[in-house]
Amino acid sequence: MTTVVRTASVTGVLAVTGFAAFCVSISVGELRVPLTDVVPAIFGAGDPAARFVVGELRLPRALAAVLVGAAFGLSGAVFQSLARNPLASPDIIGISSGASAAAVFGIVVLGWSGNGLVLLSLLGALVTAALVYALAWKQGASSYRLVLVGVGVAAALAAVTSYLLTKAQIYDVQEAVVWLTGSLNGRLWSDVRPLGLAMLVLVPMVLLLTPSLRLLQLGDETATGLGLHVERARLLLVLVAVALAAGATAAAGPVAFVAFVSAPIARRLVGSPLAIVPAALVGAVLMLVADLVARELLGTVELPVGIVTGIVGAPYLLWLLARSNRIGSGG
């Protein structure tokens, strides 16, 4: 079947799967809402207890999972296409380490939580990305320099984070570690709204920039030959991808593994080097399923979702390893 048909059918299947995961995620929990009641409860009909649990607790959390997963998936897809490297992820530009250092500082030193923390970590992510880019800029940001500077800055920030953890009270440390792992615990409407609004702007931008990305994949020269403003397109794409990753990290912590893993899965499923919308959907499904498992696995204790994404993602990577000789020969 042609690429277009395959992309459409994969997108369809992923959307249906996502919807199913979404409904199950809302249905399962301490108060079991039967699947048939889920949709009515979302729209405010049905049993009052179910309506409350669904409307105030589960729906925002499930939406948060979808938005964060989609944002990470999109960001990872863009970064990997730009870097032409399947090992690339938004981490390399220092977003995770910047957000982490800022968040831990907020938790341990300032004693903040909630919206203040979200803002702080967003600021940390954006400032770090800008710093890395600026430090790597010398008549252009060569990707080598960018990656090396990113690594250096990330190491310094990680040291700062570790230091803060040694100086804090143990309960603060625990809260900090939960944040550092990536968690959707206790996400309410107040958390979802800002990210939702940001995505309303960023997602259309990514879609509009997809043709440019398609050309950039062919190399700078061919892309220029086909009429693309290469530097301008690349800068816009980096900005959008950074905004997506920073927003997602601020909302749920550095669950960066999702960014790393979603795009390759989507590409394999679609059989094409560019699968932007599928990558977003894979990210959303991954976050929904991981959060569900994290919530329910141990019964009384809620694990942070970041733990499950690591355990789920790793076997995927190994599968990637085992099946592909081509990747090996590229080494």
């Binding site: 090396l148 190491a155 310094a156 733990i307 355990i311």
Partner: protein, 336 residues
């Protein structure tokens, strides 16, 4: 500053060793407590059991200096070997899952077996590092081509992510473990038992020998697998030997001082900027420069936060990063 002839390179290397010696002396002479130089020398040459200051010098500063020297040299060497064998300037020993393995085994030990203190930590961490590396290498070697750089990186990333998740799960479920672990995870050279250092000595020695001997092989590997083979190198054997040396060196260093990440990644770049791409020189230079950074950072950590101290893992990254970034901005470092 790429020095050209053999004699020049040797001369400059000796100068570097001289600087290292100075740093070592500083490490013994300087600390959270101000001890006059004369007393320090006395403590080394004519130790007296009653002098308090002598005790500080002999049982606190000397061991930590030795740890810093060993761990630094080991990390620098291992980093250079990793980058040479994977032909990847971003490779660091953590790629083989060493840090993640050490952390996982350690947390397991603390939470399940109730271990406390550096002595007990050491062997667990070492074992964890070794097992994880074997796993990573084994997985990376599946399929055609053996353990190529990309496959190793993927295997390393997978195992590291997996182990990290499991480690974090255990930490979150057990507060006491978290409390112990967070201090180890920063990386420190203080308070290590001299007996322990002696026991780990052989691992450092063997690892260093294997690594230093790998210089010529790494030079051939840099030209690509095919060319290396046509020059008569046995790729599989070379890779395994390199991996073994890395595990020995980093396993011992991590077991002794905790996970200190930055050094193994960045020092080889600095060494290369000085010597050029010849691994016969990059390796010894890495071995000399890394302890300079580590011990220097430790000294600063002792001085800056008196009467307490800043752990070496923190200072190394905070000082090393700006220096590294400055070097990256000059063209040399951006090439392999």
């Amino acid at each position: 500053m790429a020095v050209q002839t053999h004699r020049w390179r040797l001369a400059w290397l000796l100068v570097a060793v001289g600087v290292l010696v100075l740093v070592v002396l500083a490490s013994v002479a300087v600390g959270t407590r101000s001890i006059p130089v004369g007393t320090v020398l006395d403590a080394l040459v004519h130790p007296s059991a009653t002098e308090d200051a002598h005790a500080v010098v002999r049982s606190l500063r000397v061991p930590r200096t030795v740890v810093g020297l060993l761990a630094g040299a080991a990390l620098g060497l291992a980093g250079a070997v990793m980058q040479g064998v994977t032909r990847n300037p971003l490779a660091d020993p953590g790629l083989l899952g060493v840090s993640a393995g050490a952390s996982f085994a350690l947390v397991l030990g603390i939470s399940v077996l109730g271990l406390t203190g550096p002595v007990a930590y050491v062997w667990f961490a070492f074992a964890g590092a070794a097992v994880a590396s074997v796993l990573v290498y084994g997985l990376g070697a599946i399929g055609s081509g053996g353990a190529t750089p990309v496959k190793l990186a993927l295997a390393g990333a997978a195992i590291t992510a997996f182990l990290l998740s499991m480690t974090t799960a255990m930490l979150l479920l057990d507060q006491r473990t978290l409390d112990e672990y967070r201090f180890w995870s920063v990386g420190s050279v203080a308070g290590r038992d001299p007996d322990l250092i002696a026991q780990l000595g052989p691992f450092f020695a063997v690892g260093a020998l294997l690594a230093l001997a790998a210089g010529p092989v790494l030079n051939s590997l840099a030209l690509g697998d095919d060319v290396a083979r046509s020059l008569g190198r046995r790729i599989g054997l070379a890779r395994v030997t390199a991996a073994v040396s890395v595990v020995l060196l980093v396993g011992a260093a991590t077991a002794l001082a905790g996970p200190i990440g930055f050094v193994g990644l960045t020092i080889p770049h600095v060494a290369r900027a000085i010597t050029g791409p010849d691994y016969r020189w990059v390796l010894p230079w890495s071995m000399v420069l890394a302890p300079m950074l580590l011990l220097g950072s430790d000294v600063i950590g002792r001085v800056v936060a008196r009467p307490g101290e800043l752990q070496v893992g923190i200072v190394t990254a905070v000082i090393g990063a700006p220096i590294f970034v400055m070097l990256v901005r000059q063209r040399r470092l951006a090439e392999l």
